[in-house]
């Protein structure tokens, strides 16, 4: 079972690396949907460990697929379609860091996550390869920092949330159902609200050019 979790964890890490590689926003959204499905598989496997006690995890897996895997990507995709004439061509055009550089930095972060986990938490938690969710978290924060396009930043945040689900399930055996459900509802609200904000923001930038920088300083 542990090995399956490791494979899923590394799959998520690879997905995040591919998000760093990809510059087209729509494909990054698809990659996020794929990684949400991986999270759902992970939750099902977690539930199968003790099927009698943890049947709520199946509900949670279903909720994950519906919200993270389908609704959120569809909402973001719709917003892209409303904003741009050719949504499949929308891409990150002024990254703060080149693609190669951000991939290498992301590798360094995975290594850092491993060393921190191994030196501080491993002796208490005793979970083999528990550093994978931490690595995923650090990678997602890099995804936010290294991109300027709002949708990609949003995806970075969502990947971070996925990392937390992975962390809680893998290392600590899951959060209470009511908290997880609240988290998912919050996520949904956040995505809807921020899609609206991003749409307004992007259309303003498309019309007037980027003028906000100078006033929000200091």
């Amino acid at each position: 079972m542990n090995q399956t979790f490791e494979v899923l964890g590394f799959l998520l890490i690879v997905f995040t690396l591919l998000m760093q590689w990809e510059i087209h926003v729509q494909r990054i959204i698809f990659l996020f949907a794929a990684s949400s499905f991986v999270i759902a598989i992970f939750l099902v496997l977690l539930g199968l460990r003790h099927p009698q006690e943890e049947y709520m995890l199946f509900v949670l897996a279903g909720l994950t697929i519906v919200v993270r895997g389908i609704t959120i990507p569809v909402v973001m995709n719709k917003a892209l379609h409303r904003l741009y004439e050719k949504p499949w061509r929308v891409r990150e055009d002024k990254p703060l860091l080149g693609v190669g550089g951000s991939i290498l930095l992301s590798l360094v972060l995975i290594a850092i996550g491993y060393f921190i986990y191994q030196n501080s938490l491993y002796s208490v938690l005793k979970v083999r390869s528990g550093s994978v969710p931490f690595a995923l978290f650090l990678q997602a924060s890099l995804l936010i920092i290294s991109h300027k396009h709002a949708y990609i930043q949003m995806i970075g945040f969502l990947v971070m949330e996925n990392a937390v689900v992975m962390l809680s399930g893998w290392v600590f055996g899951g959060l209470p159902f009511i908290v997880e459900a609240g988290v998912i509802l919050d996520l949904l609200g956040l995505v809807v609200v921020s899609s609206l904000i991003i749409r307004v923001r992007e259309s303003a930038i498309l019309q007037e050019g980027d003028t906000a920088e100078s006033e929000l300083r200091g």
Binding site: V171, V179, G182, V183, G189, R201, L216, G218
Partner: protein, 457 residues
């Protein structure tokens, strides 16, 4: 459970106000919001006299009650101030009734956050405040407000993910998230300690604590005045409430020292940033940040430091909302947020100008106001626990902040030539005046606060 239903009343009234104000009937949004906020205030006052409620669902002790009361007071003043202000605000992102809907939901989520008995649900509530308040910032639709709303969403949500990790750690090591169970019994290992520390950092993002405070001046500088008021007045303390609970659960020396360091760094960073501001709303935003630093110091010290922190929360919430209402007034007359461009406020609007002067004094901790007493409590605790030197450093930076704010406010109010005509004052200035007076009167209730917080001191 049935007798505990009264503790739900503030949440219930604000949610009811939200649902009713979305209905497509003319003026129903405004009237229902006023009614809901008045009822919430009444029920908050009523709750003060109810016994402490600790069961599996709610954890309402003196701290929660006082926060509910503060939220309710700022809530009603914000709604009343919004009535004329939003009406005159052009180029809105959405309709009026959505504004009132979001405002009511926002307040409901804050009530929820301070009354539930589960760290995870506190997190859910605080994240829900982000969701409901993000659009409020962009009420006035232009590129800058939308940009600041976006920064708010992304920075605060990212910070809150850190506290979600913290909650995972706490649950993983303690096996429960219930506040009263954690308070009775908690594990004493490294995972739990790291969980609490991460929680302080994560919730600190929402409260504008030092390393991740960058969203705060952007939002306060660009949001409409009532939204800035409610953000500064109660949203930041609600996030600090979570930190207070975390420290209360595990009052280890490491955690106290960590929170104290973050608090002092916040005070220092905010004071230094205040000296270079040219935008008065941003300047007052940094002043809020400085006060949050003081509150965090108070929470980290515990005992009378905590009492001082609660006094600051109440008086700062009222005084700072008053300040932001007045800045809205100034903005609507001068159409600029640049300090250099605002001159002769006293000649134009004598009543608003004198209130702003006193309110600026109040938020920077000038003696007759309750904030000063709160700071005194904190300093006495700081000196007994950590000695004179640290206290002197903090006092030095508070003095810098005091001079920076009051010098600029005085410049806005008292410069200007003779021939500026007096204008007809807005009626909503009275809301600011009432809030300022309440903030002053809070000093009379300090013994009562102490009585309410008896279990924490």
């Amino acid at each position: 459970m049935s007798q505990h239903i009264i503790y739900l009343l503030p949440i219930f009234f604000s949610l009811l106000g939200a649902i009713l104000s979305i209905l497509p009937i003319r003026y129903i949004d405004r009237t229902m919001s006023v009614v809901a906020s008045a009822l919430a205030l009444v029920s908050a006052i009523y709750l003060l006299f109810q016994p402490v409620c600790i069961d599996g669902y709610f954890y309402i002790d003196g701290l929660s009650k006082l926060l509910i009361l503060t939220i309710a007071m700022v809530y009603i003043s914000t709604v009343l101030y919004s009535l004329p202000y939003i009406k005159h605000l052009g180029n809105l992102l959405f309709q009026h009734r959505l504004y009132y809907f979001l405002l009511n939901v926002f307040v409901a989520t804050m009530f929820f956050s301070v009354s539930v008995d589960n760290l995870g649900l506190i997190w859910v509530g605080i994240e829900a405040t982000t969701v409901s308040s993000a659009l409020l910032i962009a009420t006035k639709n232009n590129q800058i407000t939308v940009e600041s709303a976006w920064r708010y969403v992304i920075i605060v949500s990212t910070g809150l993910v850190i506290s979600l990790i913290a909650i995972t750690f706490i649950y993983g090591s303690a096996g429960t998230l219930s506040l009263h169970e954690l308070l009775q019994h908690h594990p004493d290992n490294r995972v739990f300690l790291i969980g609490i520390l991460l929680g302080v950092v994560g919730f600190g993002t929402k409260a504008g604590i030092f390393p991740m405070h960058t969203w705060l001046p952007d939002v306060h500088g660009k949001a409409p005045a009532p939204v800035s008021a409610i953000f500064s007045g109660v949203l930041l303390p609600v996030a600090l409430y979570a930190i207070a609970r975390l420290i209360q659960i595990y009052p280890a020396h490491t955690i106290k020292l960590f929170a104290l360091t973050l608090g002092i760094l916040t005070v220092i960073a905010a004071s230094l940033m205040m000296t270079v501001q040219t935008n008065y709303k941003r300047m007052f935003a940094y002043s809020s940040m400085e006060n949050m630093g003081m509150i965090l110091i108070g929470f980290s010290l515990g005992g009378y430091g905590l009492l001082g922190a609660v006094i600051i929360i109440i008086s700062h919430g009222l005084a700072k909302s008053s300040v932001f209402f007045l800045t809205g007034d100034v903005l609507s007359r001068y159409h600029t947020t640049d300090i250099q461009a605002v001159n002769g406020l006293f000649q134009r609007l004598p009543r608003a100008a004198s209130t702003l002067f006193l309110a600026a004094m109040a938020v920077t901790g000038a003696p007759p106001f309750a904030l000063f007493v709160g700071e005194l409590f904190i300093f006495s605790a700081l000196i007994t626990q950590f000695g004179w030197l640290i206290a002197l450093v903090v006092i030095l930076f508070l003095a810098i902040a005091f001079i920076a704010v009051n010098f600029r406010t005085g410049k806005m109010i008292f410069t200007g030539d003779e021939n500026i005509k007096k204008e007809r004052p807005h009626i909503e200035t009275w809301i600011a005046i009432v809030n300022l007076i309440l903030s002053f009167l809070a000093i009379l209730f300090i013994p009562y606060f102490e009585l309410l917080l008896k279990n924490l001191l």
